[in-house]
Amino acid sequence: MSARKIAQWHDAGLIDAATRDRLLAHESAHARPLVLWAVWGIGALAIGLGFVSVVAANWEEIPGLVRLGVHLALTGGLLAALFLREDRLTERSPWATEALVFAIAALGLTFFGHLGQVYQTSSPLWQPLALWLALFAPLLLLTGRGWPTALAVLGGAVWCVWEYADAAGQFGAGRDTAWRVWLAFVMALPLAFAPLAAWMRARSLRAQFWLRLEQLAFAYAVAGGSLACTFASLGGFSEARPVGEFVAMLTSGAVAAAAGGGVALARPGVSGRMAGAIIAGAGAVLPAAFILDSQTLLAAQLFFMLWAGIAAAALAAAWRGVFQLAVAVIALRLIILSFELAGDLLTSGFGLILAGVMILGVAWLAVRVSKRFAPRDGEDAA
């Protein structure tokens, strides 16, 4: 489309032939075939989901050994293709490699379910997930090139630790401090991918993959901090307020602080320092949220502090999108807070008008702030 526009500009006498050729050369060198990428992505996702449902249907007409054999042979074939053809494939389209690696990982995950069907083994979900991570994370980390594989690694890790915590909560005998601390430590562990990704980013040809992985770990930290604030606003922590729960929150916070420090060390420069500070800050929010449990206003203020910190870091490191997101989140939380504090606002006509005016005001202010102050995008986002 841009080529047609450029030709039109030339015909209208706006640009000369030399400029036209330079523009065309630039456009073709920086082409981003988004549609093609989207097709690759959708294709890989559909194949992955297809594997899951084919396995889930559990055809009994085909003997288990044959099904498992075909499944493993398919995985092996794709692995061989990846090993032998990775460079050539990547040269043609990095997204083809990405789709291949993602499909292999999906095949591997469904193999566990398939084994369970054929041999009637049923174990809590975290066990096959943990084994899958052990077997496939090295492959994903060494060959991943974009967000689908980064999401597979971090999403798999987060899913695994939450499933573990869930299973431990159901059947765990002890609910003492040591147990809570251990769970809190495990649940914060996926954050360890942040310093690893930050360290690898400057040292790898696949900078895009490590960038996405760090972003996802960053998002996990921020989501955890925000969730803790919301939890405190609703008074969700134990009413008995056991010391163990506070120590557990401190433990998660300490892991986040270590991960944040690691990011700052691994990636010198403003961007790395800011990303590290936010991860550590999100960790510090956890014990603070425990202390402010059931205090709606103070817990909301903690939430604002976290996101104001993110906005400030985004300003310093020139992450335009993150800044705008932070402003939007703060505005949304302000609106929700007003209803939390004055629940009867919606019951009278006057209250309704007041609420509407306030929502418009907050939204207007947020749009103004995010337009006026948002930094130009730096060379790398968080």
């Binding site: 899951v52 396995v55 889930a56 249907a57 559990n58 055809w59 009994e60 007409e61 498992l68 493993l72 995985t75 092996g76 692995l79 061989a80 990846l82 090993f83 990775e86 292999i104 591997g108 995950l109 469904t110 193999f111 566990f112 379910g113 398939h114 084994l115 369970g116 069907q117 054929v118 041999y119 009637q120 083994t121 049923s122 174990s123 809590p124 979900l125 066990q127 096959p128 084994l131 052990a134 077997l135 496939f136 090295p138 492959l139 060494l142 060959t143 159901q170 059947f171």
Partner: protein
């Protein structure tokens, strides 16, 4: 990228899955088969597909709030005659023990599941609700107390079982039950 490292990460998933397969196959095929009566049902798991869930009805074992963590099976396999609570340190030729790290935790001797195909799952679900039949699960029990359900079948109820099924619920056990009809009927003059 280092070629050896690439080869290692490519081979690792294949070797790991293969080893897991071999081990699962070996475990599945060892053990003594026993037929255990069951009741109840419940379907589906999102990663592994369809299964029926059932409650074991071990002959001779009555749950009274406390669930046994180990049982001793007696009989001539696969005919299960009796199951008894197995105490710590007691010797037993055919023990079954709850896998505390499994999906059912300490309830593993009460509940179990069997993965089956989508179509058969629906048919079985209806059969499990049919009160004229008795569900029987064959389990493979190993010397260490671990066991795996391997198949499910149905048989018609025996006369004794039918009588038990048709008995009114909460039948009074006390001979001096005040609600029971009087033992001696007064004849009108």
């Amino acid at each position: 990228m280092n070629r050896a490292a690439r080869l290692a990460v490519t081979a690792l998933p294949l070797l790991g899955l293969g080893a897991l397969w071999a081990q699962s196959d070996r475990t599945y095929h060892t053990g003594t088969e026993w037929e255990v009566p069951i009741e109840g049902y419940d379907p589906r798991d999102y990663l592994r597909g369809h299964y029926v869930e059932f409650a074991y009805d071990w002959p001779g074992v009555f749950y009274d709030g406390i669930v046994p963590e180990a049982l001793c099976l007696t009989g001539k396999a696969p005919r299960l005659e009796r199951a008894e609570w197995l105490k710590e340190g007691q010797s037993c030729a055919h023990p079954v023990r709850a896998d505390l790290s499994g999906v059912y935790g300490s309830n593993a001797l009460m509940r179990g599941r069997l993965y089956i195909g989508q179509e058969r799952a629906e048919a079985l679900q209806q059969q499990l609700q049919n009160r004229a039949h008795r569900g029987i699960v064959t389990i493979r029990q190993r010397d260490d107390g671990s066991f795996t359900p391997i198949s499910i079948r149905f048989r018609p109820l025996t006369p004794a079982e039918r009588a038990e099924r048709d008995a009114p619920p909460n039948q009074p056990l006390d001979p001096f039950d005040p609600l029971a009809p009087p033992a001696v009927m007064e004849q009108a003059p």
